[in-house]
Amino acid sequence: MRSDSVPLSAKEKGVLRGTGEDPLQYSTSRFGTIEVAEEQMIRIKGGLLGFTNLSKYIIIHHHDHGPFVWLQSLEREELAFPLIDPHLIYPDYLLEISREDADEIGIENEDDVQIFVLVAVRSGDRRMQLNMQGPLIVNRKNNLAMQFVDQQCSYSGLVELESTVEKQMNGV
């Protein structure tokens, strides 16, 4: 039976520990070595389009990155995607999925769900591009996720960087 004390290195990194088995270490090119417990791992069914052979990820919040979180691959250390909750940019954002799609990742009700969109931003850009047509739907209950193809999406996802910051500052 292992003790309950958290090793100092994990505490320093601020890793959230679950109960259960010992966490594994993964190296990442942006965040160094991280410890991930089994129950923190997100599995994307079918993977992301263009990366369908990869399904194991972890969500990382980098302290300096505000509303953005990172979807870090646990299978390729250099692969990570910034994510943001689309509701922060589009407060009226509403995603409808069929019961069949919901069943794919075991969604039983709305509260189980956390939605993210992938963010593309290059150095020198004044705008970021949110992938509104392919939101990532995460089921908090079982850590299964999928990239849903939203053919009805009417948001362009092109967002001025400056105005995002200002909007947030004005409490919008």
Partner: protein
Amino acid sequence: MLILARKSNESINIGDDIVITVLSIDGGTVKLGVEAPKEVKLLRGEVYERISKTNQEAANSDFNLLNNLSVDKVAGHQEKRWLPGSGDGLPVVAVAGKRRKDPRS
């Protein structure tokens, strides 16, 4: 690319589990029926291209650019709402950055 000519009602098998059938041909439009297991993603070519291209661009995002949307500018009014999973069950690994003002303190 394998090139095959098919007439209406003829089909193509891909592996053991995928069948594409020509349902009808009308002018310049071919109607195709596709049978495949649930886990295989079937998408119109242009939809697949658009989403996978945007995914790739996201993977190439500039890490430091997000740095500049600093926490003290962005976080103030939303409290913890922008940190998904804080207390809500979504597992998030927190990574310490260069600590400036911690808006949560």
